[in-house]
């Protein structure tokens, strides 16, 4: 277990900066998830921490000690790869023993550590098998076991569940959460799957274009995204956005008008002092839209293009008169059908407001 600090960490390939000066402090025992779209730099950042990529500029400290120049084996980390990366010619036991043998640990200690890790992961019966004789889930468990026996200060997971099918992914996700609880270790986990991020993380780091967009607890990111990118990335289906402008300002709210909606008073909590006439983006999550019973609540009217019935809920894709497409998540079992005209309403307290630069103002 250890703390980990990145200060102004930068990675460049020639003239191209892929990681642009990241500052991040990870506490002892914390489970931090790096999340972002493909190419955002999350795996590169993890590999920089592991020592598999050089850090072009900035500093990495693990447990307070600078690690930029240290080889991966000397950083006190263990890594679990997406492809498992098990040595195909070695048995499960030998896979787990390889690193310890290289570290010249005594035979008894190696054996004890392997059996302990195998016990934690319930795979004692697999120790003599080759990786080719294991299922995907079992292989991933061995890869985690190989990491555990190293007794690392920091566990690094690089999209460890991406190669598994949906059901196995759910069970392995729970297993990793259980493992974190048992080992109480510092863990950094990379994924593009926001469900994994939301369910596993103590804190989520949202990355885009090599820049940290927001760091926070899962519900903090969901309830108060700092910018349009985070608002659109966290949540499934993604948040609906409306382009509009400020048509009035009050002490605790801003009146926003969009082509789709009438003037709406949006509560403002930030210190921003928006001016009338400025362009803004208004966001509302699909689950915060409801099918209207009356016309008094703020909302809009559109035509249903597609209905996706998921059982307990349905997703409605709605086209508005100005061409905007909106997704609404409503209770399942309704009689909505494509082609119907529908009015949806929302509570202004659930609205998110972003300025022209995409930064949150309310």
């Amino acid at each position: 277990m250890a703390t980990l600090n990145l200060s102004n960490a930068t990675k460049s390939y020639g003239d191209v900066d892929v990681i642009k000066g990241i500052d991040l402090d990870i506490a002892d025992g914390e489970f931090v998830v790096f999340v972002g779209p493909s190419g955002c730099g999350k795996s590169t950042l993890l590999r920089m921490i592991a020592g598999l990529e050089d850090i072009t500029a900035g500093e990495l400290k693990i447990d307070g000690e600078r690690c930029n120049e240290r080889a991966p084996k000397d950083r006190g980390i263990a890594m679990v790869f997406q492809s498992y990366a098990l040595y195909p010619h070695k048995s499960v036991y030998e896979n787990m023993a390889f690193g310890l043998r290289l570290a010249k640990r005594p035979k008894d200690e190696i054996d004890a550590k392997i059996r302990e890790a195998a016990g934690i992961l319930q795979m004692e019966h697999l120790l003599e098998r080759r990786p080719s004789q294991l299922s995907g889930g079992q292989r991933q468990r061995v890869a985690i076991g190989r990491a555990i026996v190293r007794n690392p200060k920091v566990f690094l997971f690089d999209e460890p569940l991406s190669n598994l099918d949906a059901a196995l992914r759910v069970s392995m996700r729970r297993e990793i959460a259980r493992l974190h609880g048992e080992l109480d270790a510092t863990m950094i986990y990379v994924t593009h799957d926001q469900v994994e991020a939301m369910t596993l993380a103590d804190r989520i780091v949202v990355l885009d274009g090599g820049v940290v967009q927001q760091v926070g607890r899962p519900m903090e990111l969901y309830n108060r995204p700092q910018n349009v990118f985070v608002a659109g990335f966290i949540g499934s289906p993604k948040m609906n956005f409306f382009q509009g402008e400020i048509t009035g300002t009050q002490a605790d709210s801003i009146t926003v008008t969009t082509p789709a909606t009438a003037a709406v008073a949006v509560p403002v909590t930030s210190n921003a002092t928006p001016e009338t006439g400025r362009a803004v983006t208004m966001g509302i999550r699909p689950e915060h839209l409801s099918v209207a019973d009356d016309g008094t609540a703020p909302g809009f009217t559109g035509t249903i293009v597609l209905v996706e019935r998921l059982g307990d809920e349905s997703l409605l894709e709605i086209a508005l008169s100005d061409g905007t497409e909106v997704i609404a998540k409503v209770a399942g079992g309704g009689s909505e059908a494509a082609g119907d005209t529908i009015r949806l309403t929302f509570d202004p307290a659930h609205l998110h407001l972003f300025d022209a630069d995409g930064e949150r103002i309310g």
């Binding site: 592991a50 020592g51 997406q82 990366a85 040595y87 290289l102 190293r150």
Partner: protein
């Protein structure tokens, strides 16, 4: 459905015809290729009279091992075989080690000029060996290694084909596997021999076979560098002495017996490793 069931027998017949044509072609080519080998083995059991008979005798009437016992009387077969084994084995080991290391570097390291250096290396594969014979001789001679087995072996401890073959196979080894070994604390040498090598065993076996057979059979370079030091002659050079023995009436049976003995070790090796040999050709699209 009906259409497909009507067409199916037609396709089956076509496949059948081409299948038989292929088998016929394989048998015909195999006979042509195997003929000299079979003729060599059969001739080694003939008496001198049968060897010279016209029309030729195909199967010896009274098979004799006389020629085999005579071989040892003419050349020091044991010494020659030992020399061949030393040359072929040492060179093969050297090629395997250098090819693995260089192939790994070309496949997995990113460095400036990598592709240019690799292209230069590959281009040496297209040089006829005769072109490099004199410069190589002068180099080895200047090192004082002429007329010795070391001189035969040293210039062949690395070769472009081996590096090319290994690079192609090692490129297919997942980077994650190598990264996992680095995280585990393995040095680059350890990664090459403990992680990468076991992942490319078929290529190693194929290269071992290529190298062993080539250097067992190599003639021109040992002849040039050994400078008549017959004690260090490999079996292939010693066979020449069988040809010149009893020049008045050449004993074909004797030469064929010597050649049969000489071909046995690479043949046995090929039988054991032929699966890897075929795999490597299929995988790289390279003709050996």
């Amino acid at each position: 459905m009906t259409g497909s069931t009507r067409r199916a027998p037609f396709r089956a017949n076509q496949a059948g015809l081409s299948h038989y044509a292929l088998i016929f072609a394989i048998i015909a080519i195999s006979i042509v290729a195997a003929f000299p080998l079979v003729w060599m083995v059969l001739s080694s059991f003939k008496t001198p009279a049968e060897s010279m008979q016209v029309p030729p005798v195909w199967i010896p009437k009274t098979p004799s091992l006389e020629a085999y016992s005579e071989v040892s009387g003419v050349i020091n077969a044991g010494r020659s075989f030992t020399n061949s084994a030393i040359i072929a084995t040492t060179t093969t080991l050297g090629i395997l080690i250098t090819s693995l290391m260089a192939g790994y570097a070309f496949a997995k390291y990113r460095f400036r000029g990598r592709n240019l250096v690799f292209a230069l290396l590959i281009s040496t594969m297209f040089l006829p060996p005769i072109v490099t014979l004199i410069p190589l001789y002068r180099m080895v001679n200047s090192m004082g290694l002429n007329a010795s087995l070391v001189g035969v072996i040293v210039p062949n401890l690395a070769n472009a084909f081996g590096i090319f073959l290994m690079r192609q196979f090692i490129a297919g080894v997942p980077d994650d596997l190598i990264d996992a070994a680095r995280v585990d604390g393995a040095s680059e040498l350890r990664i090459v021999f403990s992680v990468v090598a076991p992942a490319v065993v078929p290529a190693i076996a194929a290269l071992a076979l290529f190298a062993f057979v080539f250097h067992w059979n190599t003639y021109l370079w040992p002849l040039t560098i050994l400078q008549g030091n017959t004690d260090d002659y490999p079996i292939v050079l010693s066979l020449g002495r069988l040809l010149s023995y009893n020049r008045g009436a050449m004993n074909t049976g004797l030469v064929m017996a010597g050649a049969t003995l000489a071909v046995l070790p690479p043949l046995v090796l090929f039988v054991f490793l032929q699966r890897f040999f075929v795999d490597s050709i299929v995988s790289t699209g390279v003709k050996g």
